[in-house]
Symmetry: C2
Subunit: 245 residues, 2 copies
DNA sequence: CCTAACTGTGTCCATCGGAAGCAGTTCTAT
DNA sequence: ATAGAACTGCTTCCGATGGACACAGTTAGG
């Protein structure tokens, strides 16, 4: 598991060649081609061959730009994530965190493969780090420790990821591949052994549609409010660590 | 993406052959061999060839038991998850949910590849459904709707997954592949553009070690407590939906 | 018995990620 | 101006992968 390649590719200010033919491709063009394939046919359909073919080049040409496939996928994922919204609204800390989390969803929904691509040890890219920065800025001066601020992020982002994963459908057609639907199908004939699951599904079937995202966010943010209180978002609480900027 | 194979493999009460030679292998033995490989060398090292070789059989023999590799991985994942603890302790609802979530962690830590194996559309297996049942039973009669009960699960389990993913190290040696360490390395030279991240990292470096799991669980459970109150765990609150069993 | 059902295996194939070396092109140093 | 260094895209080649298919041996039920 060598991550230096991804690190240099994602973060390297590349010097730019001074001799030789002009490069016909760019990292971004290659990554966008891969993204288009992954969006349409899933991450498994992304091969060096396929990306190169869609670009009208040979497979080995890509290796002039990208050290390997995993690095290409990392590039795709960071690009697909996009940049965080410049403005999170005028509300208090919790409203802005809510807006941040909600803004995270469309990227995951439009590019479900990002979930697969960002599991396991990996290098964080500029866009992902910008998202992290945006949320940490909201938590600045809230009386939380550094690790705690990171943890709040992780919980929020993790919830959005989960929702996106549940909502990941096979856009080609059968909605039966939804996780909830699969669970329902499994439980339908074996409900006796899983009464609580059956009851929850039966209730959920009649109720509202897609409150999962908001419900979870409210849960987490309510817990946060109980912990840090409704302190003014722009002033640090007394006793906050003065070492933070 | 055909999931019927996984469904039948994970859930099928197979009729059992009545003629022909006795099968020399079992689903469980094959899956356990795959689990051993994945634990030691990662999910990428699990190939049909490799699993068969470790069993002393030919690659194609496995296809007599398993329809394909993805189904084998699904079997491995469900088996590695294990069964939920029979007893979640004597505390109130929140303490038992906490115990449930904490009990989820060791499986993920011992088998980090399960995180990769369980992203994307998939079929839920018996063990995973048993975990779901255990937590839903705790939430029974708490005055939550069916979908809300599922959402609470998703938030809790998602948090544990996140923590496990962050804690996933390369056991071979270099701890530099930890996500936090990678972030720190990236930010070290680019901290000016990410001041909030830098501040959080600087604070976190000096502080305590691994409070992330407990902190997040407290956050979520505090939010839950704020929502449903400290109602008696064994009696439904007035106004609870009577359609639930 | 003898045939249907089932086992494990050997062979074959398309595809994958990637290494190595090639000829052509362009910039820089002389 | 010119030689060589640097760079491009390409061709060729390789081992490994997941899987289709047909085959011979083995067992149990009619």
């Amino acid at each position: 598991m060598d991550l230096t390649g991804s690190l240099e590719l994602l973060w390297g200010d590349r010097p730019g060649p001074r001799r030789g033919p002009k490069p016909a491709l760019t990292h971004e063009l290659i990554a966008r081609t891969g993204i288009a394939i992954a969006d349409a046919e899933g991450l498994a359909a992304v091969s060096m061959q396929r990306v190169a073919a869609d670009l009208g080049f040979t497979k080995m040409s890509l290796y002039r730009y990208v050290p390997g496939k995993s690095e290409l996928v990392a590039l795709m994922a960071d690009l697909a994530m996009g940049t965080p919204p410049a403005d999170l609204g005028e509300g208090d800390r919790f409203a802005r965190l809510r807006a941040w989390a909600l803004g995270l969803l469309p990227g995951f929904v439009r590019h479900p493969w990002v979930l697969e691509a960002t599991t396991g040890p990996r290098v964080i890219g500029p866009n992902e780090l910008a998202w992290m920065e945006a949320a940490l800025a909201v938590l600045d001066g809230a009386g939380l420790g550094g690790a705690e601020r990171m943890d709040v992020l992780a919980v929020l982002a993790g919830h959005v990821r989960n929702i996106a994963q549940q909502a990941a459908t096979a856009p080609g057609g059968d909605a039966g591949t939804q996780f909830g639907a699969i669970v329902a199908e499994v439980v339908r004939e074996r409900g006796d052994r899983y009464p609580a699951v059956r009851a929850a599904l039966a209730e959920a079937a009649g109720g509202g549609e897609d409150e999962a995202l908001g419900f979870g966010l409210d849960l987490i943010l309510d817990g946060l409010r109980a912990r840090i209180g409704d302190a003014s978002p722009t002033r640090a609480r007394p006793g906050a660590d003065p070492t933070q900027s």
